[in-house]
Symmetry: C2
């Protein structure tokens, strides 16, 4: 099946927003084995939208249009699509009721609902309605003889849940082939090294396929199999994941799609009933901020220190004056004293420290920009690792956070 | 002038990367007064790229193609474009030299340069070369009678500098009209309120124009004027910026394009030689992490405390047990004691505290999810503000950071 996406919205053409919907939908379609050949963006303009839709209907089996379903006169996607397929717009009572109860939830009576919004209760004749739990614009599926058109609202917080709960099940039902994919997430190993170590697997792959994705400091491998049943597809994926686990061992931090590195760290601490303290210099709170992404983290996180200056390192963490003088703040010795000081001072089981030079200025021959020391204290053992990162100040700080989380994860696993 | 963008790359169609280039280029073109009518993405596929290019050349004056200029066989943009305009690919000695010196910088002799890379020294006959300081793929400008085609490398770290230093000056030179724009950035005021307060200005605007952009917790207004000289355009922008300053006063934190909220806060502290300490609960380091985005912040940031638990609030900041019991951690009283404790304990001039409920769980009727108290200590005065944010855990934490920075900024301005 060949698909294509049409994003509608002048704000995209002005560059005011980045088109994350196109990337999101493309990824979901790829996982279903549906090939996306074109992504087109047009403004809220009747003629150009009609033209793009015409071209898409001629060359693709599935066309997904996003945006332009709002209540204003500028929103034209439904009207243009109806005209293209030669159908009327008709009032849908169920959608009307959905809109009424949406506003009711927000504390508004039906009399207070802006007149504009009733436009959103009109649907293309014969279309299947995709209910919108997070807004007032319903999605629509319009089937023609050769083409299926799906209209989705533009805001990601409406589009994504509608896609997950209604569009994907619908598209899966169209095909006799079922897809199953597993996600293998790695950290602490470079992308090129990962690709080298699985070159043989990628070379001979047919079903399942392995697709690597690089993220800051991480590599994700998606293993996808197709079969006639879910169970069969799952069985095909299993040995490949097993082989990847054998090859990469501890570098794999999860095989769960939705699980993040900070989820794994917090889970590992909770499971062992361990408490955590953080001491950050160049990252200055970013690692702690990420750990607190995980709801329920209050069980483990005792406290966090941002010690950007030497003085703060001494006062809050007890790093000795002579260490700072002899080795400087960006050294293994300082990272070690920071992490020990934090752990002991706060009476925590586990501690992490990060000290480094994120630049742009301040680099020397001995300590170039990008030098970062990360310390971890676990079960009274201290581990310090030295890193040399490339990139902007922001990139170096991000890489420090990811590698800090990874060191935490490995130390917890290895020392408890 | 009507422009259109063609992004080339299968990784975009697979959703592996988000198309930030399209948004970036669209924004730059809009600032030059060039209308983008279409953005199209196609894969590394000869037929479909040729088809997209053909449609674009027929309907647009300017076509910018990005990506597909790499050294591999998959990279087809130059070849397809050459065929479309009926020209040959010829070796360019200057580009060849650039490639040689690029590798030399990386410590490679010309003998070690992968053969593939010499493909990148071939240019479309008669094209203007845009030199690439950050990679081996040169950009190209191909002028035809009715259309100008610009080919740019896909990686943003190559595309962006090439656009800034070579493409924008080229496009500006095409037109007799010069554009000048100022950016007015606001914080602590909602988008709809901003739009309401300038409805009359937007209604009657012709030259300059005012375009509002919403960012998390901020609103940016771009004021753009066109004229025949830079000076004239600047003169047109000036009174509009003045009027905006009159209407929004302190809500405007900068009129400089590149200046961020954290830049302004750090600058305000440096200027007055003040020191800062932070105490974060629900944001857990994110605000401090953002402040440390600003190079040179070590002059002002004394230390930072992440006190996610009640125990940490008591121990590190001296929040009293009875306050936490009577008012709970998410209260004005707690925010006040946190900020006072941080300021006095660290002997800092200025302090900020954030305590709130980011959810998803834990909300009650009295303290619903999204309730956040932000405290600021400046010149021995304590200000506490209560906020009620909507959205996900992540969104609530982000909004807390932005509003925390804004409260800091206002208190420093008002109390010193």
């Amino acid at each position: 099946m060949v698909a294509e996406l049409i994003s509608v919205g002048t704000e995209l053409l002005l560059g005011n927003i980045v088109n994350t919907n196109a990337a999101y939908l493309s990824k979901k379609l790829a996982a279903l084995g549906i090939n996306v050949y074109y992504q087109t963006t047009v403004g809220d303009n009747e003629g150009r939208l009609a033209e793009a839709l015409q071209a898409a209907r001629e060359r693709s089996d599935l066309v997904i249009l996003t945006g332009g379903l709002g209540p204003t006169k500028d929103d034209l996607t439904k009207e243009v699509t109806a005209a293209a397929v030669g159908r009327m717009l008709v009032l849908d009572e169920a959608v009307k009721e959905d809109i009424t109860s949406y506003f009711k939830q927000k504390g508004k009576n039906s009399g207070d609902i802006p007149q504009n919004n009733w436009k959103q209760a009109m649907i293309i004749e014969g279309a299947t309605v995709l209910r919108n739990e997070n807004g007032t614009a319903p999605g629509l599926i319009v089937t023609e003889e050769d083409t299926t058109l799906i209209l989705l609202p533009g805001p990601p917080n409406e589009l994504v849940p509608m896609t997950e709960t209604q569009v994907i099940p619908y598209l899966s039902s169209l095909s006799n082939t079922v897809f199953y994919s597993a996600m293998v997430k790695l950290c602490g190993i470079g992308e090129s090294q990962v690709e080298m170590e699985i070159a043989d697997l990628i070379e001979k792959q047919t079903n399942p396929t392995i697709a690597p994705y690089a993220k800051t400091g991480e590599v994700h491998l998606r293993v996808t199999a197709s079969a006639s049943t879910q169970k069969e597809a799952k069985e095909l994926v299993k040995p490949v994941v097993k082989e990847l686990k054998k090859r990469f061992g501890q570098a794999i931090y999860t095989t769960k799609e939705e699980e993040t590195l900070e989820d794994v760290v917090v889970k590992a601490l909770l499971k062992r009933e361990l408490t955590l303290v953080t001491a950050e210099s160049c990252t200055a709170g970013l690692l702690t901020g990420r750990i607190v992404n995980v709801p329920g983290v209050s069980e483990v996180l005792k406290e966090g220190f941002v010690t950007y200056t030497n003085k703060a390192k001494r006062k809050l963490l007890g790093v000795s004056k002579s260490t700072l003088k002899t080795y400087t703040a960006v050294s293994a010795q300082t990272a070690k004293e920071m992490v020990k000081g934090a752990a002991i001072g706060s009476d925590s089981d586990v501690a992490i420290s990060i000290t480094g030079l994120a630049g742009p200025g301040g680099g020397t021959e001995e300590i170039p920009v990008g030098t970062v020391f990360i310390g971890c204290y676990a079960n009274e053992k201290v581990t310090v690792k030295e890193f040399h990162f490339n990139g902007s100040r922001e990139k170096i700080r991000e890489l420090s956070v990811v590698n800090g989380l990874d060191l935490l994860r490995r130390c917890i696993m290895n020392h408890y």
